[in-house]
Subunit: 287 residues, 2 copies
């Protein structure tokens, strides 16, 4: 019997990758679950399993970094308020040894930051060699908020986009694997999550009434995201649009993307660069 | 029947706290397990349980920090090579949400760091309000390595000790809870762990032949630690001597100490500082 030809599995990264050319976020269903495990509990099991792979890969990345390898990974998380950026940090990144991770949450620029080029604070937060960097919001805020509130004109926006593409190309050239995830939620889901925060005494501190003001600009933000994603999804720094109305799907999907980015580095532990036998001989008792 | 008087439990922090006055580390048994759970598996269960408490407390600390509370926690980990500092970071600190933790590993000072006062790089690594800072090695290296290798004289040593005590008092005054742990291992256990690294292809990258050279100064390091601990174990910044020949005891003990430090803050979630009903009303459909 000839074996049946096996259907080649489409990797998640191809499925979630932002389409080439103009992007309309309306074309992406925030409630969908492409390639998902069959159930929430299956996804939890896979997430835990992937977590172990992430931890092992991170340790190898770190070991190589300590040995002169310049490679590193940068996970960029973007999305509207309540889209789950903190959740990904906690549930996905939290599975990796904390010493190998550098997390930066970008807020409204301080006076010092605002006095510099918008990439100044970003460069200062880049992960060292061997580390996984995580940006909770990023330089993309500077082409999103600014566009929605019209604090920069089209020329300035285009200039920033060009700056970002050049910056990200340089990162890739110097050994940084970029993984940019847009956590895509629907308008109704944001309402539900904001209301849930109001109802929960352990979550209400996360609520900022200004978030309601920003919600009034929902469509403008969606357009601004679409424009930024279309203009900056490059071969070396692709965007992934992660349907995020389901929290378990979102966590599962980002963990898979991060795992694949790490596996793509084809890491192994560095061999000893010293005489192991001599070291062993010196360590014999009574020494 | 009158209930029997319940023996008041001695908290771990009193048991492990460095004795007042001169300390001789020989008086502390690195293999002991004071107040330990009955078995390794019991300890693992307690560690997982304590991990959930740590995560919940950290989140509350963070929530308060976001609300203007200046308090924070700083865990200082010291100990000879292989004493388990990385292990504590991974197994204890790793149980807490990674966004609420700031970990710094201090290496041999860079040229820039060495050109400054020895506390310069330390101040730059302090945790922001609401965060748990972790120092993997710390300013104590500057009164340990230097004393062992006689790169500073007794007067300079005493001056640095005075600097450290003033610095830590200022930290305490400005809302930092300090938890200083010396991970105490025996000479034989260090040999075993160094040899184990040589035998394990996934661990050999951690091995540095220079560590064997430093091992030749074992007794000098023990004396230097004893002197530093005796001179800097203060009311607001006490030292804990954690017997660390057993990895599971070490992780359990540090997790208990960290939990108690957090519980001592008597945290609760901050209440909403805005009109919750008005916010809820604004969020009704179709908005």
């Amino acid at each position: 019997m000839t074996p049946k030809p096996v259907a080649k599995a489409v990797p998640l990264r191809e499925t979630l990758r932002a389409a080439q050319g103009p992007v309309t976020l309306l074309g992406y269903d925030a409630t969908s679950k492409p390639l998902a495990p069959r159930s929430k509990s299956e996804a939890a099991k896979e997430l835990a399993k992937t977590g172990k792979v992430l931890a092992a890969q991170q340790e190898m990345l770190f070991a190589n970094g300590a040995n002169g390898d310049r490679r590193r990974v940068l996970l960029v998380l973007q999305g509207t308020d309540t889209s789950g950026k903190d959740g990904v940090v906690s549930h996905v990144v939290g599975q990796v040894g904390p010493a190998g991770v550098r997390i930066t949450s970008f807020k409204k620029p301080t006076a010092e930051e605002a006095a510099h080029h918008f990439l100044w604070r970003i460069r200062r937060a880049l992960p060292p060699a061997g580390m996984i960097g995580v940006f909770n919001r990023s330089h993309y805020e500077d082409v999103l908020v600014t566009r929605v509130h019209e604090s920069i004109d089209d020329d300035a926006w285009a200039e920033r986009i060009a700056d970002i593409n050049a910056f990200e190309r340089q990162l890739a050239e110097s050994g940084t694997v970029l993984l940019k995830c847009f956590l895509h939620i629907s308008y109704g889901e944001q309402r539900a999550r904001l209301l849930a925060r109001l109802d929960d005494p352990t979550k209400v501190w996360k609520f900022n009434p200004a978030d309601i003001d920003e919600r009034a600009y929902w469509s403008d933000y969606q357009s601004a995201y679409a424009a930024a994603i279309a203009a900056t999804s490059t071969e070396s720094a692709p965007w992934y649009i992660v349907p995020s109305d389901s929290k378990w799907y979102r966590n599962w999907a980002v963990s898979q993307l991060l795992r694949d980015a790490l596996l793509g580095l084809e890491l192994s532990y560095p061999a000893a660069d010293f005489d192991v036998e001599a070291a062993r001989a010196r360590l014999q008792p009574p020494f």
